[in-house]
Symmetry: C2
Subunit: 258 residues, 2 copies
DNA sequence: ATAAACTTTTTTGTCGACAATTTCTTGACT
DNA sequence: AGTCAAGAAATTGTCGACAAAAAAGTTTAT
């Protein structure tokens, strides 16, 4: 993956002193190729943990013990702590006082809310991008869709989820509203967790070519179609979860008696 | 708050710490009456600093020196640091590596983006609330509007800004989507900063009774009117800033040559 | 055998100290 | 004077140590 120059990330936009700043662009946490067992800045650790969560190597609910992580990354506990608080602000990790950090487990209610939020925001972003997309941007999106289709062909479900999220995030960033892009990043990350949690392994026929059709609408500057497709796509993804949303209720037994 | 029973499984480490969460509801940082010079948990410090920023006692761009704050609140520097990173994640404070923390100064571009985001989200929330508002909720909103009108009558501009933000935030929370409410909190906080920065002292005729009319639409369960009023209101507020948005360009001299 | 009470171990929370960096001050030079 | 450089002061970044809390393990009594 190439390092792209986009100003974003959860820790706030660097106001006045525009550049300074590490400048590393953090997407949905693609795994860093360098295995680098030692020497680690907070940014790198952040990305590796995020990757592990997105790629489901750290399952939702999993406890993240500070000292353990510190040992793994050859970092101090303070640094791990810093990373965990950042992840908790991004809602990927739940921080429970005196208990520790856990990979977030969005509830069914939260899942519904996330999709409701996305339905409000993303069609509007699609509309914007349809109006303004440059050839370079379209090429970049095509690249992502191609990678996703390839991963799908190889039945690499984790990569499909990650790349699909990245596709939506890229659209948000291209739409030219950094604030909304930031919020979409949160929603996209949450969506990855939700899919991991609530996706039914049976009815797997989700986005298929919907991303590609969306892309075509961008290319043709067809705002209405782009917005409509995006809305439909989101509904589609949410629908594919509904089955398990119901099934999940059984699992809530412990929560009911508390 | 209740402590929930967490089931720890032998092999892996799946747990579910759902929803213990901060629990304390933090609004836009109403000033705590207790001046409490000593003994301070992170939450209290957070609220006091946020209050100071919202109420413009800490102006945008102002540097926040850790040790100074630690002395003021009788807390350790580590604790201040924790609060500052939280504020930076909420975009109220900008954290510059090796330089320190500064009260955020949203750019004109960011201001535009914030209002664009709000136009997408808030009319939908207004529509939802119009459908579901309970008498108690309406009473609470009436209370807020009354307080705002009183502050306006007393020409207490800071309180007007704060209460106005609180009104919008309350609507977001009542609308029944916690994710969106959270995002609206960020946007509302940013809006407070934006108004402080870019409000023209001349054309002061902003929301007037718009909040009250919105409230009436809720009371009558008139979804369409509520959404339309909200949209109009947001445009109105943004318009009132436009004059200074242009004027601000002059001020950007330093930014241009950097 | 079960459950409560106690003890040990693990894990998190907090602080102060030291190193690295930036900012301010002083002084020399053109 | 103005600019630059070196030193001093202030400020941030990082770490390890200790205290507090929770979890796991052990004993004891019923």
């Amino acid at each position: 993956m190439r390092t792209r120059q986009i100003l974003q990330d959860g820790s706030g936009t660097p106001e006045r002193p525009q550049e300074i700043r590490g400048a590393k662009v953090v997407r949905l946490g693609q795994q860093s190729r360098a295995k680098a067992a030692v020497g680690a800045d907070a940014e790198a650790i952040y990305r590796r943990i995020l990757s592990a969560i997105i790629e489901h190597r750290l399952a939702p609910g999993r406890k993240l013990v500070e000292e353990r992580l510190a040992a793994v990354f050859g970092a101090s506990r303070a640094m791990i702590r810093q990373v965990l608080t950042r992840l908790s602000h991004e809602m990927v990790v739940t921080l429970v006082p005196n208990r520790g950090a856990f990979v977030a487990e969005p509830t069914v209610e939260e899942a519904r809310e996330v999709f409701e939020a996305r339905r409000l925001i993303e069609p509007a972003l699609a509309r914007k991008l349809a109006l303004s997309a440059t050839p370079a941007q379209l090429a970049r999106l095509r690249e992502l869709v191609a990678a996703e289709e390839k991963a799908r062909a190889q039945r690499d479900r984790q990569q499909v989820i990650r790349l699909s999220g990245e596709f939506h995030l890229e659209i948000a960033e291209m739409a030219g509203n950094a604030i909304l892009a930031r919020q979409m990043r949160e929603l996209t990350l949450l969506t990855c967790l939700i899919i991991i949690l609530y996706d039914s392994p049976v009815g797997r026929a989700c986005p298929e070519d919907e991303h590609r059709r969306l892309l075509e609408a961008f290319a043709q500057r067809d705002q209405d179609t782009a917005a409509a497709l995006m809305l439909h796509h989101l509904d589609h993804v949410e629908q594919s979860l509904d089955i398990s949303l119901a099934a999940q209720d059984d699992d809530d037994l412990e929560r009911i008696f508390s």
